[in-house]
């Protein structure tokens, strides 16, 4: 009975979404306030219905209700409770429900925090989000219903959650990523609303800016968590594989990054209006494309689980409707967008244009590389695959170009900044970063790597330029405390994010160029050298976990003669599914991670063992954390609340004159 409540709530949410898509839009077009006013209550109701539906599914997992097929497929009596909770979004149907829930959640936040926005505008925004919701809920109800039952012969036990996903990283990775993916729908909805209403000045940019920033912050953290999870759970020790599904999240991230920067120009200077609209459409369309790539199984990937052509066709159709519809509307209306005036060739806006240009090229090239196998297959060219060499060859130089320009933007002034004195601090920055960069590989010892030198110089270039900008502001305001209190929060956010990118670049450069990595055959009593350490295998035992049996090796790591640490990597075999999983032992440190993983059992009791030293690998994710933090700090700016008041006053004044 209880699962039917969830099913019913889902159907109800679908009906509400249809109303939400239709009524406010009709109200706007026919100029009837009453219909517009339904938007907010409907958005709240939809959120409530989906929360009930989601709660019921989670209850099914916690209560071991194996009569629900989705629970039976993805849970097990032995599965610990926290993994039973995260199992809700561990497979196709449930992750779609999470998607829909988060979309509804963003709708609720728009309904609650849009008091400063004219009612007809928020009505249109919620209506567009309702349309997206209709598509997703229809997809769930018609092709991927999580509440399908196995009755009357329901299994006594479930098939278990994919062991790859039985990990704390998975509890947070999908919700974070979806908050980002789906959060971009708000910026999209604002862009569509302004296109529908024809009010194409820069106000929509101001409204959608905090939403875009917060979605970007979630997306950043979501991608970083995914990368971290792949690093320690997939047992390969890599942090990025250019897997199609990773690319599917990176592409919207690149476009969202571009959007964030162009929104700044549109808000502050009113420029690039039509371009910003296009980016907002592109960012969300690409996150839909990402969902399509993940969910349809058209690509060979870690995430592409079961193939189902029917689902693929549905999402493809939905994608065509969303992208086709929004671009058509754009094509009709964009000619009416007025671009006020020109801009100087050396100005903050020109550097942000440069940023947008490079980020767009990056997104397009990753997109091309990801879709190329599909395109070739579609025209009958056979099966091909595009691997990391391609992506590295294209992505790395573009990043270098992007980063080279990054130092100028924050120092430049809006409108025009031809005064060369503004950029004088960069001369010192340039000298320091180049000198330290060139010296760095020599300090490390070993073979000199010019790639490391360039990479480290670029990371320093951004980090020092960011510090210079900060110090300049401190000089201006007199004191660190006053500076942090007085400058726009967006500025602090930018410092954090740019600094974070420098950390990430440094981590990537070090890991990619200086990882020491060996696959070996080892038995009990064997010792191997690993960087400055000696690794001795002392024991092999069998461990019984809650729902798995593991072979566990004990390694003692010696630094000289002193025992530094004892670690125990495992090779687990999960009882229910029989799947084998590697649990690597990782000793994390600021300057390096020691990574020991068990490969496979060999004859004579030996094991294949993977040993690596990964220098500065954690800096990659620390950098992403700073970027995300920057995003969250930005949206706390009080002007987003102040503006609301001004807007009302301005609106009142306008109303009075009209």
């Amino acid at each position: 009975m209880i699962p039917e409540i969830g099913h019913f709530a889902l159907v109800l949410a679908f009906a509400i979404a249809i109303c939400l898509a239709v009524f406010p839009l009709y109200g706007y077009l026919s100029n009837q306030q009453g219909f517009c006013a339904t938007a907010k209550p409907l958005a709240l109701l939809q959120g409530l219905a989906l929360a009930v539906s989601f709660g019921v599914l989670m209850y099914g997992f916690l209560a071991h209700d194996f009569s629900v097929k989705y629970v039976a497929d993805n849970s097990n009596l032995d599965l610990p409770w926290y993994f039973r909770m995260s199992a809700v979004w561990g497979a196709h149907e449930g992750s779609l429900l999470l998607w829909a829930l988060i979309l509804a959640f963003w709708g609720v936040t728009v309904a609650l925090f849009s008091r400063g926005i004219p009612d007809h505008m928020s009505a249109l925004v919620l209506s567009v989000m309702g349309m997206i919701s209709v598509g997703f809920l229809a997809f769930m109800l018609f092709t991927s219903n999580p509440f399908v039952r196995i009755l009357p012969f329901s299994p006594a036990n479930g098939a278990d959650l994919n062991p790859l996903l039985q990990d704390p990283g998975l509890i947070f990775h999908p919700p974070m990523l979806y908050m980002g993916y789906v959060g971009l729908s708000v910026a999209f909805a604002f862009a569509m609303a302004s296109l529908i209403s024809g009010k194409l000045d820069a106000t929509w940019a101001r409204w959608s800016r905090p939403w875009t920033t917060i979605a970007w912050a979630f997306l950043t953290l979501g991608i970083a968590l995914g990368s971290w999870w792949a690093y320690y759970e997939l047992g390969w020790g890599g942090w990025w594989f250019w897997d199609p599904v990773e690319n599917a999240s990176l592409i919207p991230w690149l476009v969202a990054t571009a959007l964030m920067h162009s929104l700044a120009v549109t808000e502050k200077r009113g420029l690039f209006r039509s371009w910003t609209l296009l980016l907002a459409i592109a960012a969300f369309s690409l996150s839909l494309l990402g969902t399509f790539l993940v969910r349809s199984g058209v690509l060979t990937s870690v995430h592409a689980f079961a193939n189902d052509p029917e689902r693929g066709v549905f999402i493809l159709g939905f994608l065509i409707v969303v992208i086709g519809g929004s671009l058509t509307l754009y094509a009709i209306r964009a000619s009416k967008v007025s671009e006020p005036g020109e801009f100087a060739w050396i100005s903050r806006e020109s550097f942000l244009l440069f940023n947008n240009l490079i980020l767009t090229v990056m997104a397009v090239s990753v997109l091309l590389g990801t879709l190329y196998p599909l395109l070739v297959d579609a025209v009958g060219g056979g099966k091909v695959s595009v691997g990391p060499p391609f992506f590295n060859a294209v992505f790395v130089p573009l990043t270098a170009i992007l980063v080279s320009g990054m130092a100028f933007g924050p120092l430049a002034k809006w409108r025009q900044s031809e005064d060369p004195r503004l950029f004088r601090p960069l001369i010192v920055t340039l000298i320091v970063s180049v000198v330290v960069g060139l010296a760095w590989p020599s300090i490390l010892g070993g073979q000199y790597s010019i790639g490391t030198a360039i990479g480290v110089a670029l990371a320093l270039w951004v980090a020092i330029a960011t510090a210079v900008d900060f110090v300049k502001k401190v000089g201006l305001y007199g004191g660190v405390g006053t500076t942090l209190a007085r400058v726009e929060r967006g500025m602090i956010g930018m410092w954090l994010a740019h600094f974070g990118l420098a950390l990430t670049i440094f981590g990537v450069v070090m890991v990619e160029n200086h990882t020491e990595h060996r696959d070996l055959r080892m038995g009990v009593g064997d010792s191997q050298n690993l960087g400055p350490y000696d690794v001795l295998m002392t024991d092999l035992t069998v461990i019984n976990g809650p729902n798995y049996v593991a072979d566990q090796a004990t390694f003692e790591i010696y630094q000289g003669d002193a025992l530094y640490k004892t670690v125990t990597p495992q090779k687990r075999r999960y009882n229910a599914s029989g799947m084998v999983m590697t649990e690597a032992a990782i000793d994390s440190g600021v300057t390096r991670d020691l990574y020991i993983a068990m490969g496979e059992p060999l004859d004579g009791g030996d094991w294949a063992v993977r040993l690596s030293v990964k220098p500065f690998v954690d800096w990659i994710w620390a950098g992403a954390f700073f970027m995300g933090l920057g995003g969250f700090v930005s949206i706390t700016d009080k002007r987003y609340r102040q503006r609301v008041r001004e807007e009302k006053e301005a609106g009142a004044a306008e109303g009075a004159t009209a």
Binding site: F305, S385, T582, D603
Partner: protein, 151 residues
């Protein structure tokens, strides 16, 4: 032409030429870095180029996995049930590598043997890499697998 138009023209020209160059470079990089896919039958009948990095997909034939007792060297046959190819590899095989399961290997043909630089096994019990499905479809043996696999 007024200055505003002129600037817009310059930007558009810059964008178009920049994107053109980028797409050109991307296409060039793609042509240098794509890995073509072949079935075991195609390799057995000599249709695959030697010394070029390619991918082969199929099932790991039962009872063909041979390990070197001293090192991490391993050899196995990949089959589409028409022909099979001997694959050699040195390193750690993925967790889901098993006899009778689908696998995709990437590497080069060297003197009739396929020397793999990478072995990819599926990540999920019910998931079959599209390449393997394709190889089995071409050899007409797809039913053999579908029937034998639990769904």
């Amino acid at each position: 032409m007024n200055p505003k138009r002129k600037q817009r023209m310059l930007i558009i020209l810059g964008l178009v030429s920049g994107l053109g160059v980028a797409v050109g470079l991307v296409m060039y990089a793609l042509s240098q870095n794509i890995n073509l896919f072949f079935t075991p039958s195609q390799i057995a009948t000599g249709q695959a180029p030697s010394a070029q990095l390619i991918r082969v997909g199929g099932m790991v034939a039962d009872g063909t996995v041979d390990r070197d007792p001293q090192s991490l060297k391993v050899a196995f046959d990949v089959t589409d049930f028409d022909h099979q190819v001997r694959v050699t590899y040195e390193g750690i095989l993925p967790d889901l590598f098993r006899e009778g399961q689908g696998v995709v290997v990437q590497g080069r043909i060297n003197q009739g043997q396929f020397v793999a630089s990478e072995v990819l096994a599926k990540h999920d019990e019910n998931y079959m890499p599209p390449e393997v499905t394709e190889a089995l479809r071409q050899s007409g043996k797809l039913d053999q697998i579908k029937g034998g696999q639990q769904q």
